[in-house]
């Protein structure tokens, strides 16, 4: 079964710490220490009697950091084969913990996703991420695995959907959507563009159709489509002509018949599509067929999703609107984002100085030590600090991808990519949220936000990647 197990483990265990990727480890330590620094700023209380009291959030976080250090060392000392061996049991335990939380857990902020042990709260979803990543690596590294084969697609779909549906039942959809990051892994593993492109396209259409009017969406699509065709076939004049004809035709039709602009555009585009299809088959320019199909799909999908959306109950509509950030929700997340933007914007290039942020010190940004920790960075260290943090994350993600590439066996590669993808999604959504370009989904900034579960889970995630990489790097001729 372990066909790639041709290297004596002994050889590696002896030189273990010599083989760990020092760049990844360094980036990890830098981010974690920066996180502790800003949690300190966010929860610093000048009136507190003792700076080192364990009642302070930063002291709790420092303690978790210690725990993480110990766990990291243990992970690095483990035999890499254990991860392969225990992928399936870990997944089963992970799912079990999620179900247990759903049944016996504690409800926090409306999500029944927590366990409580004497003052400490643990969120099993964080560990489910590790389990799912290991399981995914396990499934996808199977000898007979072919990502574009339906049975295998169903397998990996099931690996994701099982934890996802439990997390949704816990009313913690935001955390569950993190599992969408695996799409990134699938693309690396060669998922056909005929599968992933429609998925991405559908997601984008769905979100944009809630934010923009159909007229805007179709005008944009039309321009993008023409641009694509122009890039493939040249002939600037012809494409401009086509675009102008469709748009002017729609305008004219709308003016003459006093039809809605959107309906007029749909009619004119339908005619244009028929003409185009005729052209495609006559001249055998089949490369255009694929975009035309996507376009027709959009023409059906957007009105259909609009129609379906209008059939939903108002509170459901509201929940979806809130989710994509169109309206403020009852928890007033819009206020949080506004205050966070003010904090970061007012930080300027160099920031207001450590512990000097007024938005931070006077508690204007809610959840500033957890989900909105980035606002403290932006306010107190300005653009320079924010840029440093973003660059550190991007570097760590790129490093993980590179480690994945240089691990020859697919288990390690899939695993490293999974970690990189989850980090990317967290960073993108969390930082995007604090600067107002992403909806509020309630997911933390990995390694920086206050919270033991998240810190420990991401530490384990990354350490396993480093461990897997260390096992193979020595005799891996591949250099990237």
């Amino acid at each position: 079964m372990y066909e790639y197990n041709y290297i004596s483990s002994k050889q590696y265990d002896n030189r273990l710490f010599g083989n760990v990727d020092k760049v990844a480890l360094g980036l990890y330590i830098a981010i974690v220490l920066l996180g502790l620094l800003f949690i300190t700023s966010a929860s610093y209380d000048p009136n507190a009697e003792s700076f080192f009291s364990l009642s302070h959030n930063y002291m709790k976080q420092a303690m978790w950091l210690g725990v993480s250090g110990v766990v990291a060392t243990i992970v690095l000392l483990l035999d890499r084969r254990l991860f392969h061996m225990f992928a399936t049991p870990a997944y089963i335990v992970g799912i079990g913990l999620l179900v247990a939380a759903l049944l016996f857990g504690r409800e926090v902020n409306g999500a029944k996703a927590w366990f409580e042990f004497g003052g400490f709260r643990v969120q099993p979803v964080e560990f489910a991420k590790i389990a799912t990543a290991l399981m995914m690596a396990r499934v996808m590294s199977d000898y007979s695995f072919n990502i574009n084969r339906p049975i295998d697609l169903i397998k990996i779909g099931a690996v994701i959907m099982l934890p996802f549906s439990i997390i949704v039942l816990q009313n913690d959809t935001g955390s569950g959507l993190v599992l969408a990051a695996f799409l990134f892994v699938f693309i690396r593993e060669g998922l056909s563009k005929y599968i992933y492109f429609p998925i991405i396209f559908t997601i984008v259409l769905f979100i944009t159709s809630l934010i923009f009017t159909p007229l805007t969406i179709f005008t944009a699509l039309l321009v993008l489509f023409t641009l694509y065709s122009l890039l493939r076939h040249g002939s600037l004049a012809g494409h401009v002509q086509f675009l102008c004809m469709v748009l002017l035709g729609a305008l004219l039709l709308s003016l003459l018949t006093s039809l809605d602009g959107y309906v007029a555009l749909m009619i004119v585009m339908s005619v244009a599509v028929i003409i185009l299809l005729y052209f495609v088959f006559k001249t055998h320019t089949l490369s255009l067929l694929w975009p035309i199909v996507m376009f027709v799909y959009a023409m059906i999908f957007v009105p259909a999703s609009d129609f379906l959306f209008s059939k939903l109950e108002p509170h459901q509509q509201n929940r979806i609107h809130t989710f994509v950030g169109v309206v403020d929700d009852p928890q007033n997340l819009g206020y949080n984002v506004r205050q966070s933007e003010i904090a970061i914007g007012s930080g300027g290039i160099f920031g207001k100085g450590f512990l000097e942020g007024t938005q931070n010190r006077y508690n204007f940004v809610p959840e500033k030590h957890t989900d909105f920790i980035f606002s403290v960075v932006g306010e107190e260290w300005g653009f320079m600090g924010a840029m440093t943090v973003i660059v550190l994350y991007i570097a760590l993600i790129l490093r993980l991808m590179r480690m994945g590439e240089r691990i020859k066996e697919p288990f390690g590669r899939v695993y490293c990519y999974s970690v990189a993808a989850m980090l990317l999604l967290h960073v993108c959504v969390n930082i995007g949220m604090t600067i107002g370009v992403m909806p509020v989904m309630g997911i933390p900034l990995p390694l920086m936000s206050y919270g033991g579960s998240s810190l420990l889970a991401f530490t384990i995630l990354i350490m396993i990647a480093i461990r897997l990489d260390a096992s193979t790097s020595d005799n891996d001729g591949l250099s990237l």
Binding site: R188, I344, S346, G378
Partner: protein, 620 residues
């Protein structure tokens, strides 16, 4: 790694870097607007409190307080910030001294606009404010105010009151914001800009729970409030109190002026009211009660009422005729209880006949001044009666009648002087000297404010000029008051022509005449009574115009008592007592005070009006 794998790796790397670039781009864009965000961050964490100044106080001419300011507080609530778990309302209503119903009502009102400060109750004393602070209820705030206090409790209409600004006030003057207070009526309004002082502002640091975390920048940016200026009034508050007391139960007005300066010594509009009634929590009720009173205690008669001047106006007629040369002091006219013209008679009372100008003034002969006025306006040098009236108009205006005098009082009335145009339109152009003859004795269409009449007394005392009457003589920190109060206004009559008129007024008091009751040993009082007809059904108005002493006059006074009867009946003793009080500081005739106080004019007119008004109100 195969080619396609390498391609995918590179594309995904670009995606990762792209995410970083998008985030950094957005951060940079926010950077371009850093100033805007900083402004918002400051707005979040630095709050300003308006610091209200003490309102300026007013002293009388002898340095006694007329109007004082005392510290009090408005109690405000922000509904949103009230503790969710509730608070001790029993204690609160005991501190605020309000009923539970009132508190519930105000809290309900506050819940309409949950995040705004809403007034619960005003006029919290300083002690109770400290007790309230001890309770430390979140969402309950106090706002510094000053409330007015009136040691002598007199001068309601004269002083005006302080009330909350209306929307139009805020629009007209950006100094005000909703909930501010401003002077209404009287001196409070006329000197509002000096009395109100200047609001200050202080900045403090706050957190998301609106808690005050101490001064911003150690208070260096704060602007302290500037208290309002202290004004010194021309009023002699003891005289004012005495005069108001004499007018108790009567409707009418008293104005006393120092002729040499135009300073108003006392200004009574009766019925008056205790200005304290318009301060405090009962203010609204008290105001409405006075508002519905048909004797109109809120109406400042002394500056606004339009009364027929009656016989006191004969003085003006005599002066004009002398100046125009149609009369000489020695001219005598007969009077047999009236003046007959065109089948009509202008009645007069019994006195010796014929009389010269002095005695005509002293005895207030109606017939004499009918001759005088007819001779004046029908004089051939004017060409027509119309032109004669026009010349007469100009003279009358020069005495300050028919127009505002330009005092520093809010809402001064103009009175009325009939013009040829007025008669033309009323009589379709068909009128002659006989039509307007009633003007000769200050009846008919003539209307004067008591202030204008007192000013006439001052003009005669000065023998031909006046200073614009005013109520404020000094402003804290300023060398002078408005320059218009230092200007002499000459009438069109030469001072020489005042001599026989003054002589007649002196004789009226000191030798024989209608004003004998105003005699004061050693003070050479001069006076002229008036008995103004109001209508055939009601008693006449009693009026008296006087100054003393004859040379270097110190006080000029006009007393007007509505429906008081003959001038000598009530106006003369009131004026005389006030003159005595002012000149000698003592009262030698306490029986006269008794008489004045016991005198009750017949106010059937007002009583009927009140009954009708109440009946109408009750119906509605």
């Amino acid at each position: 790694m195969g080619n396609s794998a390498k391609l995918r790796y590179n594309v995904l790397r670009i995606v990762v870097i792209g995410v970083g670039v998008v985030l950094l781009g957005r951060l940079l864009w926010m950077q371009f607007n850093a100033e805007e965000y900083r402004e918002m961050a400051r707005g979040n964490s630095i709050k300003e409190i308006v610091e209200y100044p003490m309102r300026g106080e007013i002293l009388d001419r002898n340095g006694e307080y007329i109007v004082k300011s005392r510290v009090c507080y408005d109690v405000m609530v922000v509904y949103n910030e009230l503790p969710d778990e509730g608070f001790d309302t029993t204690r609160l209503i005991s501190i605020l001294d309000i009923s539970r119903e009132k508190l519930d009502r105000e809290l309900r009102k506050a819940s309409d606009n949950r995040s705004a400060q809403t007034l619960i109750v005003g006029y919290l004393t300083q002690d109770n404010k400290l007790r309230l602070d001890e309770q430390n209820i979140p969402g309950i705030y106090t706002r510094f105010r000053t409330a007015r206090e009136y040691p002598r409790k007199v001068g309601g209409n004269l002083l005006g009151y302080v009330s909350e600004v209306k929307e139009e006030d805020i629009k007209a003057d950006s100094y005000y914001t909703a909930g501010d207070y401003k002077g209404s009526n009287g001196l409070e309004s006329a000197y509002e800009e000096l009395l109100r002082g200047k609001k200050g502002v202080s900045y403090y640091i706050t957190n998301s729970h609106h808690a005050n975390l101490g001064a911003y920048n150690n208070g260096n940016n704060d602007i302290p409030p500037q208290r309002g200026l202290t004004l010194t009034s021309t009023i002699d508050i003891r005289l004012q109190e005495f005069a108001e007391d004499l007018m108790e139960g009567k409707v009418g007005s008293i104005v006393a002026i120092e002729p040499a300066t135009g300073e108003i010594l006392a200004m009574v509009s009766s019925p008056s009211y205790n200005p304290d009634l318009l301060v405090g929590r009962q203010r609204g009720n008290n105001y409405m009660e006075m508002f519905h009173d048909q004797r109109q205690p809120l109406f400042n008669r002394s500056a606004k009422a339009k009364y027929p001047p009656g016989s006191t106006f004969k003085l003006v007629q005599g002066l004009i005729a002398l100046e125009e040369g149609v009369l000489s002091p020695s001219t005598k006219y007969p009077c047999h209880e009236g003046y007959r013209y065109g089948g009509r008679t202008m009645k007069c009372h019994a006195h010796s006949s014929p009389l010269d100008l002095r005695d005509a003034v002293a005895h207030s002969c109606n017939a004499y001044f009918c001759y005088v006025f007819k001779d004046m306006i029908t004089n051939s040098k004017y060409g027509s009666v119309k032109e004669g009236v026009r010349v007469w108009n100009d003279y009358v205006y020069s005495f300050g009648f028919g127009r505002q005098l330009g005092t520093d009082l809010y809402g001064e009335g103009e009175g009325y002087v009939p013009t040829p145009e007025f008669y033309d339109s009323r009589y379709n152009g068909r009128w002659n000297w006989g039509t307007v003859l009633s003007c000769s004795i200050g009846q008919g269409e003539m209307g004067c404010t008591p202030l204008q009449m007192a000013n006439l007394a001052a003009i005669i005392a000065n023998r031909g000029y006046y200073y614009t009457p005013h109520l404020i003589k000094a402003i804290e920190g300023r060398d002078s008051i408005d320059r218009r109060f230092y200007e002499r206004h000459y009438t069109m009559v030469d001072s020489v022509n005042f001599v026989p008129i003054v002589e007649g007024m002196w004789r009226s008091v000191n030798v024989s005449g209608t004003s004998r009751g105003a005699y004061l040993e050693g003070w050479d009082v001069c006076g002229k009574t008036g008995t103004a007809q109001s209508s055939s059904k009601t008693p006449d108005h009693s009026t008296f115009l006087s100054f003393a002493p004859k040379n270097n006059p110190k006080i000029a006074i006009s007393v007007y008592v509505e429906y008081g009867g003959f001038g000598s009946t009530i106006a003369v003793p009131i004026a005389s007592l006030i003159e005595e009080m002012y000149l000698t500081d003592t009262i030698t005739r306490p029986h006269l005070i008794e008489r004045v106080k016991n005198f009750k004019p017949n106010y059937g007119y007002y009583d009927r009006k009140q009954r009708n008004y109440d009946a109408k109100r009750n119906k509605q």
